[in-house]
Structure formats: C-alpha cells, structure tokens
C-alpha cells in the first residue's frame, strides 16, 4: 500500500512538472508583455528594459523556467519590483502580490463551494438513485428519471439567475450569496453559500441519480444479492450492505472526477453568484493577461485532479478487496 502511494505520488509530481512546463512555454506564445504590466502605465523605455531584466525576461526561455521552478522552493526577488517568498509561484503585477498568497486567499471560497455542493449532490443523487432502482418501472422511478434528465439539461447561469431573482432579490427567502470564512462565522458561511450549493447540486445530482440507479439495478440482480436474501437478511441490509457496496465503485469514480474538476474552480457558478474563488481568479487572469496567476490556477486544477485520482484509487482498494494490493 505504501509502495503504491509513493509510486502514485511521484507520478503525480512528474505530471505536474510536465503540465507546468507545457503551460509555461505555451504562455510565451501569448502576445502579452509581463514587463509592461510590471512597469506600470507610464513607462519610459529604459525602465521597461530594467523591468525586463529584473523579471529575468532577458534570459533564455529554459533559464526562465528553471528560475520559476527554483522560486517555488527558494522564493524570488524581482529587484525592487516586488519580493515573493517561498513557495513562490510567481508575482502578479496586476494584483501587486505574490501569486501564492492570492491562491491561498481564493482557495477557501472554491473549497467551501465544492464541499457544500458535493455533500448535497452526493447524498441526494445517491438516495434518489437507490429509491429509483428499488421502485424501477413504477411512478417514483419515472419521476426520478425525468427530473434527472431535466436537471442534467439545465445550465447554471439559467437556474442560478432565476433562483437569484426569485429566492433572493424578490422574496428574500435566502441570503445574498457571499463568502464569509467558516472559522469566523459558520452560520454566515452556510447562509451565504446555500444558494450556490443548491444550484450547483441541481446540475450534478442528475448524474448521480442516473449512475446509482443503473448500477444498483444491475447489482440487485447479482447472485450474491439473491444469496443475501436467501440467508434471511432483512431488506434494508440486502440493499445497503450488499447491493450498495457494489454500486460504490461507480459512485466513487464519478465523485472523484467531479470533485477534482470543481476544486479547479467552478467558473460559471462563481461568476453567476459573484464569489471570488479560483474560477473567478483564473477568468480574470485571462482577461488581464496575468500569466503568473493563470499558470498557478492551471496547476492547482491539475493538482486537484491528480490528488483525487489517487484518493479514488485508494478507495477502490478499500471498497473492493479484490483490488487490494498486497
């Protein structure tokens, strides 16, 4: 198990390295001059040259990449333009702050959004899927199927805007979406995020309902589930301990993918509800040509997907003894 974990972690780091190299070199193809951003609005040519030197832009491309990599561990000094302590993912001259600080500042928003929404869509989607599977062919099942289809077809900017209008501005049923740190005000944190959680969950629940239902129907027909019933195990135990166990693999798989993607930033949700998370950060970085920030958000998204993939693989072994590594 430890060997597996080490191997996967090393593999993950290598993947991140490759992704950072690719994004780094890709961004140099972008017609944007970081030195001009660093130098400010009124920038005489000699100052621009100075900024270029301080940012290391006069170095060969590969040297710039290694400087960026070294910065992660050693920090970087941009010669009067700014200082960026380790771990330094670059310095944003749009925000006038080290990128890592900005990321740390925005990450809790996205993580909060993800955790709350994930809890809702996981619980609700799986529960609906189980009920639909047990009542298959009956009205409950049909209602669940139709509503999943509708849910999956909805768009966040559509549902989100409608919900904002009716539930917040018109009727004041829910609090205006905003982010308050959980550690400072847990209730305010939950209240401010309730609407984004619900809207995000509506879109995702559908997928969980459908996947849970179809896998569960399959599992309920398995021989070992029949054996459990033939042993006199009560109905709820047959469903939850036997049939659901086989369904977990499917659920965990899609859940890992979804979580990884959401941590990378729910751009549309954050934009719709005006939350300053990683999604908004990356979107702004694109429009401002803020390359260091953009690169860092890409890396965070990649890291999230890599981490959740490893977690999912570990969970497989936990759920199914047949894949347990020995």
């Amino acid at each position: 198990m430890l060997r597996f974990l080490t191997r996967r972690t090393l593999g993950g780091i290598l993947t991140l390295l490759i992704i950072s190299a690719v994004t780094f070199f890709l961004f140099f193809a972008v017609p944007a001059d970081p030195a001009r951003l660093a130098c400010g609005k009124v920038c005489p040519p000699e100052l621009l040259e100075q900024a270029r030197h301080n940012l290391g832009l006069d170095q060969p491309l590969f040297a710039q990449f290694t400087a960026w990599l070294t910065g992660i561990f050693a920090g970087r000094d941009y010669g009067g333009l700014g200082y960026c302590p380790a771990p330094c993912l670059g310095y944003s001259f749009v925000n006038r702050a080290p990128v890592f600080e900005t990321i740390l500042d925005r990450l809790p928003v996205t993580v909060s959004l993800t955790i709350g929404a994930a809890a809702v869509f996981l619980a609700f989607g799986v529960a609906t899927g189980i009920v639909a599977a047990l009542r298959r062919g009956r009205p409950t099942d049909k209602i669940a199927s139709v509503s999943s289809l509708v849910g999956a077809s909805l768009q966040i900017y559509f549902v989100g805007t409608l919900a904002l209008y009716f539930l917040v501005y018109k009727n004041q049923i829910l609090a205006r979406p905003r982010y308050l740190p959980f550690t400072e005000d847990p209730l305010g944190w939950a209240a401010g995020l309730t609407l984004p959680w619900m809207v995000l969950a509506i879109i995702f629940t559908a997928n969980y309902t459908r996947m849970t239902r179809s896998t569960m129907v399959e599992q309920l027909g398995e021989d070992y589930v029949r054996t459990a019933r033939a042993k006199g195990m009560p109905g709820h135990s047959v469903v939850l301990r036997f049939a659901l166990r086989g369904t977990l693999i499917t659920i965990v798989t899609i859940f890992g993918v979804d979580l990884g993607a959401l941590i990378g930033g729910a751009i549309i949700t954050e934009t719709t509800f005006g939350l300053q998370g990683l999604g908004r950060l990356s979107l702004n970085a694109v429009t401002d040509s803020d390359l260091p920030v953009l690169m860092a958000t890409v890396l965070v998204a990649a890291a999230a997907i890599i981490v959740f993939n490893i977690v999912v693989d570990l969970l497989y072994a936990f759920i199914d003894p047949r894949v347990r590594l020995n």
Partner: protein, 333 residues
C-alpha cells in the same frame, strides 16, 4: 400417515413479461420428508429452480404470480409475510446456489458471510458468530479454518467456495436444504467430494434435501426420491430405484439414453433427446412432450396432442403418460 415435512401442492408460478405470461411452473406437487433427499431432474427451463425459489419466496413479487400451497413443517409459505419468510430463510430452510463465485459476496470475508446468518437468526454476538463460522468451516472440511475464516471468496478455490457456501447454508442447522445444481460449476473430482459432504451432513443432522440437477449421475449417487420435470410439470415421480431401474415416461427414457456410458464403445454417438424444450410462453397443448416424443400416436390418434396427461397413480411411482404399462415395458426393456 404423518404429514410430510415439506409439502408442495398444485404450485403455479407465472411470470408476467412484456411478451406475455410465462408459465414457469404449472401445477406441481411433491413432498419431502426429513432425512431424505429429493432429486429434481430436468432440462434447463423446466422449472426446477423456479420451483425452489418459490419455496423460499425469493421471486420478485412485481413480476411473479404464485399460487397453490407450500407448507413447511405445517406452516403455509405462500402469502406468508415478509418477516415470516425472512425468519425462515437461512434458518429453517436454506439454499445453495450453482455458482459459488458469484453467489458469495466479493466484498465480505467468508467468515463474516457465514457468521452474519448465525447472528441474524440466533442473536449471537460477533465473537460467537465468528467461532461458529470457524466451526462450520471445519465441518465442511476447509483446511486451517482459523485463518481462512478471514479470507475473501476470491482467495478460495472453486471447491472451497462451494464448501463455504454449504457452511453458510447449514450454519443454523436448517431442516430443509435446497441445493440448486451445487456441483455443476465444479470439477468432477470436487463434485464427488461435495456430494459426499452433503450426504455426511444429512446423516448427522437429518436435514431434508432437495437436489436440483440435470445430471442423473448425481441423482443416482445421492437422492432417495426423484421428480422428473418437463415444461413446468412433473412427468415422472418415484424412488431413485424406480426411476433409474424401470422408468416409465418417454422423456425419462430420453434423459437416461442421453447419458454417455463409460462401458459403451468410444465411437458410439451421443443420443440427445431430439428437439428443444418448448417455450414456456406457448406450451404445446396436450402432453407438452408430444412434439419430441417417439410414440405420440400409440395411445390413440389425438389423445397425446389434445388432452394433458396427469401424473398417476397419485402415490408411489407415477408418470404422466397415456401409454399403458404393458406398452411401456414393451418399449423400454
């Protein structure tokens, strides 16, 4: 005359499907006494398994319509409540399935799967259930039961899995054990071991066994009584000596003739029962076997094709065929 331990009367099991009503079991009656083994023989789709799933109430009530009577130890099972059935299953009546690999849960240890039946029906503690599981594994001949109890089914060999399955079925000392093709998925040598095991356990506990099989060799080795099924009906019933020694139904003859014999010349072609089993959506009128029978005109020009024969006589060696005893003896010598 005491009441039999398990008594099935006029059992009818219909499945309502999109294509129509499937008459899987159509008026079946049989008895099983304690300490005896009834072998139920027939081709695939003859209703053997469906009958026995009905005994334990394991059919989906949404699609299956079951009528008739099934009494176990004086208790009527058809229409019994779910909790009654859950109390009986695994406790008074247990079942072994054909494929032990798919029939055991891959997610739980063998010991847990055996122990949970015991806990469920006796309220024993986790530790007591574990001890009982080890005891059962020992009884069915699993080597090193104390360590194997924590293994998962995929760590067992095929024969060991079926032994574990038997241990699981017998953990509450059931009075009735239904074994649905328990040896079909196993090697021939392992088959013999499993059958021996079942016989030994029956001698120790006096359990009534229903052995479902399509293998007459298995029947000859283990059963006391035999029921031959065809298209959801019993076509012949008797003791194993009667059925194998003086079979009376043309279908039984066909089954017996289709068995290859070691004493026969190697190049003797196999003799299958010709034709295929009828669709249970559309069972032939009259005797359901008449389209495959070699003697459909012997009992009169139309009888076999129009009127369904009943099993007669009602007790002892009976068969559902219009041929006279003399004709049968003449044909099958």
């Amino acid at each position: 005359m005491s009441t039999p331990f398990l008594s099935v009367r006029d059992l009818i099991v219909d499945f309502h499907t999109e294509d129509g009503v499937v008459h899987a079991v159509d008026g079946l009656s049989f008895d099983v006494d304690k300490g005896t083994t009834l072998g139920i023989v027939g081709e695939s789709g003859s209703g053997k398994s469906v009958t026995n799933l009905a005994v334990l109430g394991l059919h989906d009530p949404e699609t299956a319509r079951i009528s008739g009577g099934i009494t176990l130890d004086g208790e009527e099972l058809i229409g019994a409540s779910r909790s009654t059935m859950e109390r009986i299953r695994g406790n008074k009546a247990a079942m072994i399935f054909q494929d032990p690999l798919t029939s055991l849960s891959p997610y739980h240890t063998v010991g847990r799967q055996i122990g949970e039946v015991f806990r469920r029906h006796t309220g024993a503690s986790r530790a007591a259930a574990r001890d009982r599981a080890i005891e059962m594994l020992t009884r069915v001949g699993i080597p090193q039961p104390k360590t194997r109890v924590d293994d998962y089914p995929h760590q067992f060999s095929g024969g060991m899995r079926q032994r574990a399955m038997i241990a699981m079925a017998l953990v509450c000392d059931p009075d009735l054990l239904i074994a649905d093709e328990p040896t079909t998925a196993l090697d021939v040598t392992v088959q013999a071991q499993i059958l021996d095991l079942l016989r030994d356990l029956q001698e120790q506990t006096g359990t009534a066994i229903i052995l479902i099989t399509h293998d007459l060799g298995v029947v000859a080795a283990t059963a006391h009584d035999v029921l031959v099924m065809y298209a959801g009906r019993a076509v012949e019933r008797g003791t194993v000596r009667e059925i194998l020694g003086e079979p009376r139904h043309p279908y039984t003859w066909g089954l017996l003739a289709s068995m290859p014999r070691l004493s026969a010349p190697v190049d003797l072609p196999l003799r299958p029962v010709r034709g295929t089993p009828p669709s249970l959506l559309n069972v032939p009128p009259g005797c359901p076997f008449h389209p495959r029978c070699d003697y459909p005109d012997l009992a009169g020009p139309e009888l076999c094709r129009t009127v369904r024969p009943e099993l007669s006589p009602h007790r002892g060696h009976g068969d559902a065929c219009y041929l006279t005893l003399a004709q049968k003896r003449e044909i099958h010598r």
